[in-house]
Symmetry: D2
Subunit: 419 residues, 4 copies
Amino acid sequence: MKYQHAPRGWNSWDCYGASVTEEIVRKNAAYMAEHLRQYGWEYIVVDIQWYEPTADSHTYHPFAPLCMDAYGRLQPAENRFPSAAGGKGFAPLAAYVHSLGLKFGIHIMRGIPRQAVHQNLPVFGTDITAREIAKTDSICMWNTDNYGIDPTKQGARAYYDSIFRMYADWGVDYIKCDDIAREFPHAKEEMQMLSDALHDCGREMLLSLSPGPAPVEQAEFLKSVANMWRITDDFWDQWALLYAMFERAEKWCIHTGANRWPDADMLPVGAILQDYGKENRTKFTTDEQMTMMTLWSIFRSPLMIGGELTMLDDFTTSLLTNERILAMHEKARHAHPLWRRNIAGNEIIAWAAASTTGESYLALFDCGELPCELTLSSDDLEMERITAAENLWTGARAAVQDTLAVSLQPHSAAVFALR
Amino acid sequence: MKYQHAPRGWNSWDCYGASVTEEIVRKNAAYMAEHLRQYGWEYIVVDIQWYEPTADSHTYHPFAPLCMDAYGRLQPAENRFPSAAGGKGFAPLAAYVHSLGLKFGIHIMRGIPRQAVHQNLPVFGTDITAREIAKTDSICMWNTDNYGIDPTKQGARAYYDSIFRMYADWGVDYIKCDDIAREFPHAKEEMQMLSDALHDCGREMLLSLSPGPAPVEQAEFLKSVANMWRITDDFWDQWALLYAMFERAEKWCIHTGANRWPDADMLPVGAILQDYGKENRTKFTTDEQMTMMTLWSIFRSPLMIGGELTMLDDFTTSLLTNERILAMHEKARHAHPLWRRNIAGNEIIAWAAASTTGESYLALFDCGELPCELTLSSDDLEMERITAAENLWTGARAAVQDTLAVSLQPHSAAVFALR
Amino acid sequence: MKYQHAPRGWNSWDCYGASVTEEIVRKNAAYMAEHLRQYGWEYIVVDIQWYEPTADSHTYHPFAPLCMDAYGRLQPAENRFPSAAGGKGFAPLAAYVHSLGLKFGIHIMRGIPRQAVHQNLPVFGTDITAREIAKTDSICMWNTDNYGIDPTKQGARAYYDSIFRMYADWGVDYIKCDDIAREFPHAKEEMQMLSDALHDCGREMLLSLSPGPAPVEQAEFLKSVANMWRITDDFWDQWALLYAMFERAEKWCIHTGANRWPDADMLPVGAILQDYGKENRTKFTTDEQMTMMTLWSIFRSPLMIGGELTMLDDFTTSLLTNERILAMHEKARHAHPLWRRNIAGNEIIAWAAASTTGESYLALFDCGELPCELTLSSDDLEMERITAAENLWTGARAAVQDTLAVSLQPHSAAVFALR
Amino acid sequence: MKYQHAPRGWNSWDCYGASVTEEIVRKNAAYMAEHLRQYGWEYIVVDIQWYEPTADSHTYHPFAPLCMDAYGRLQPAENRFPSAAGGKGFAPLAAYVHSLGLKFGIHIMRGIPRQAVHQNLPVFGTDITAREIAKTDSICMWNTDNYGIDPTKQGARAYYDSIFRMYADWGVDYIKCDDIAREFPHAKEEMQMLSDALHDCGREMLLSLSPGPAPVEQAEFLKSVANMWRITDDFWDQWALLYAMFERAEKWCIHTGANRWPDADMLPVGAILQDYGKENRTKFTTDEQMTMMTLWSIFRSPLMIGGELTMLDDFTTSLLTNERILAMHEKARHAHPLWRRNIAGNEIIAWAAASTTGESYLALFDCGELPCELTLSSDDLEMERITAAENLWTGARAAVQDTLAVSLQPHSAAVFALR
């Protein structure tokens, strides 16, 4: 699949947890098509437990009965996704999303439903049963839906083939598989089975692996099986988590690009309607949000919006539609941290990248608690000389002579295209 | 419960794995009553998966349907235990064992049947359901029968109460609970719940915890909740495993006694009719069996015979009925290793113990591959002087003058009562 | 060497650090001979840096010039030990100590003086030089006197032979070698060289290794090379250190006896005239001192008094001369902790031992902060029955019927001989 | 100091160990000036123990007397460096090297000579003595020359100041300090003292820290105190060491540039006259040498020739003077590994970098044991499109259309400038 930039989209998790509905998905898709598509935002992703009829929050109901066909394949709960009635699965919803010029993604759990195993259901198109391929010692630590699949069993891949072909029939473009990205070594062979089943299913889809932190020692393997993998556990709107992402991005920066994207997780911006917390708006300051968007973009992380799109405010819209920042998200190459320095009591972090257009990108982050004035030489920036600087957030351009002067507020970022 | 010595009995696992039947149990009980009871052997224990109708070997059938009452309490499979018909459970078999002057034990798995959880069965005598108390991230790594019970859930102990009261009604004297003794820290509170349920059930029973190795750091806790706990993974008839037991016994020796017994596991002697292996007789030499019986006895481990009793040969009978060795199993106090020395190319291990009768016990083990002649002084043996030595295996008595001369064959033991 | 009990004596460290003088040693020896010898106290030990003329406290003077003969053998500083004048070394002082019916010990550091190495002095009686056998990467982390000796070098043992023969000529009875007991694996071969040199020097001496904690995994090796080895770093008069000794003693208890003594370190009792601290008397309460003396005695640790003997007060004298406690220090066998229990909010620790006289010893320690009343059954104490109890500290005897009632104050101990 | 590229030079270690002489240094300097200087090679470095008169090989003489002035400052051994006679130190030799248009470097050990400490010499220009600032527990594990300096002592830096001012007087341009780069945390403050003393000495010098591996967690600190630091232990002409450098370079690649160079160590090429080994020529094949030179250059490691310059053969000369490779060593930016892939049974490693001239560099390495044909797309190479490729080793240029075909021999490299 030819890519232009790391995937950009919207995912239902931050706002709706396990309980998103078709109505919400359609509403957000329509908004994206009208307001964000022209900026490269295109994925609409239904997150976890769309097959659980009683889901009502971010909290799972352990051992709740799941909607499932006669072959142990989970189906959208019709009370939540009415268009799935009559065994049509997500096909109607995917068709709607496609009709808007967008792409459609779903979340799955690694493995096979425990219900299918205990009922010993047959695997579609085979004479294998669920009980024969379930891995007896493999469960998710935080969700009771599935057992893992045992790669040593004959026909182990058959169940994954059966679901990926169904997803292909539905028109799915993106699979976010959970309980897997950090589960080394025991789930490594399941990642390979997933990848193989996806490639043989007859439809191009992106494969995204969660949750992190995926181990960097497995970078080459992950690049060979998936398009995205989380480098962190769930990310929320807290400065400590944002600050920690600098270290994670540093570890992974040499591995990004070419349709293989280390994933810094969703952007908790705008209205986050999560059920556990009284605050409905992101707790990040505007400076912190620009810091996040700068780091994610120079690092070329996938960008998945967590806020309810129909409630986007002007600032958040400007954050997500700055064309210069989004161009860096597309054009940056070889990004990496240049240094971390203590300057006047603040930790200042600098990142640099080349660009496919011949410029150099430079991002500066004030991770301290004080404002800071910086004067940086070409040596500080690993450049031979500097003649011009464009501020990507503001668009301001200036001629410079080998010295760049920058003012930073606490937790803020500045980012430039330098010549 | 007043004890005389660590429990002695027979357990079905070594010979019959998951597939023992009532007929076999009765036959072994009858043999024990007639031939072994007078030597203190008294427990008859039905090991794992008596509730699995299709069990046919040491190998489990993952996710197989289990016999269970309407409250999620497992019941003997009637095709294997006919006297259980009509909901009588193990009561008839226990009554038979009691009628022989013996005691009756059963094996259970930690937790609550997965089938009860997925069916959301009620817990007997409560308005709690199985789904409400199952611990979502707690499974056994090698058996699919149960989920663990979550001690943080309201009414968590109710299921354990419900089964222990049923076992009390049946007349059970001994519970061997599996998937628990080494499962620290996550199963620690389940051990406490088990112990509390047992103490409140209205009948005295011994509680035995498996499999090992239990962590020695938890010795005081284990002494507070159980009567026996395994200090090793399953023990079989291999010299390497027997040799390793010296180190395990060394770690645990200061913690044994007073009805709290670190457990070195079963004695794989005589006819071991296990299904996975062509050899039907123990692979231990007679010297090795005497080494094992000597170590287990001075260490005061529980003694559970693994071989089929009705096929006992003369040597094995003599091994199990030596009155001087069994007296040491009862009378030894403060046993511990004295030293490990390299003598003429062999590792010789010495253990010493006091006796409630005023003698000192001394056991010597040749763990090397060569015969060895030892001449030991009173200093070597931590005694002020030595005037008489009785060889416990042979009964030979000798006057000595502060020096003990001993000949050992490879893998053999000698053990003395010294004055 | 035939032993009766673990060594008992006095050591100059607690009071005088690196700066003890002959006058002080003679004064303490005379006092011991007159007041303590009849209780088995017999060793007088001169601790570290008797060869450093300017030593004046517990603090070392790095790289200070040391008194040394032409063969790199350290000699007593004559300004501190006048009788050493004329090259007589410690021979006159040892003769004096022997004249009192006592034994004489000295402290040494592992290795060979750095001064001898840098000056490349010859090793006595050989054509080897100091530079040839010094281990280039082996120094003490806290003292600059010596380099280690490299066991791979030809003639490595020659220096140790040269000093042990000199010590034998002087009449030394006890060597406390420092910077060695916990220095595994790199100093293991030096321990062997030390032991071999001692055994070949022509005089019986005890070998004591410091500082701890020696690793319990090396127990058999230590038993083969030394008579005593420290199980702890330096011990001082603080409850936290005393409490920690219960765990150390538990780890080592099965390894004590027969002239091989795990060593819990000196008794900081009475007047401790150390230079760094304003308190001149032990900070232990009388209860804590009895706890210490009880644990050291049932565990059979060496007993080395740290206080200035000529300033002994009545309580301390009674502590050190209780004949029943000292009998236990001699007669106990197979001592070990029985249990640690939380009783009424206190941690109560019980130790048991057999006795060569047929009784059982029982020690009870209240390690909590509250008084505690205990009522213990024969089962609690691993006994078949109890008919009589003698309180070892008070001498009170009582008939009992299988139940022992004991009152304990915080940090106090009670200890009984039971029949 | 303005830099063009990472330092390039010659160092005496590989050929001469601890025993290089002035004659050898002059001969190599003259050769470099005539044949290599125009390619950017400029440093002539005298490695370890130039102050040891009896040094005769790569093996040190432990505790050997060293040449030293009255202030504990080591001086060149006049029997090896005659121009140092009369207390002139390295000034005459440095002047000669400068007269050739080259720069002069020397090796030092962290710390202060043990001889100065044991003799308690004064520190030049102060009233401090060596004994007062030596760190008592700090030695080198493999060389007995020095003690470390204790940063907590008053006047600790004075000795470093005294030697750096002497080096500045001599005209030294480059200090390679040993026993320090991997010695965290205990030598961290000594690195700071070294750096501070160097910056205050009145002459610009490069500071190089050895041996590795320096810990990557200390990257920012190392960038703040030194110009180069070793990322590996000593590197020699063995494929296993060369292969391992890919991983080390991967860890460090984001930290190189701007006069702060992670150092992959010397180039063992040409005639390596080392005393321990029968082979006098590098054991690397020509392919392996080109692999090494390619990796060192794209990674921008310092380049220090280990072979005797006057014996350079034609191949080695061509290896060291390829202008396109040396341009990459200067112009590469943001270099990093792209991927490691198993292709037809070989591990193929790809590295990419931007260039200050607008091209992209691509290096391909066959780390397997078989030849390999590669066909790579623009996506494989993280490029938008590819239109032209210049083979840097051969100079061959070719037009391409988004696909690059490459043949590789085992252990060989190919490297391109792509447009």
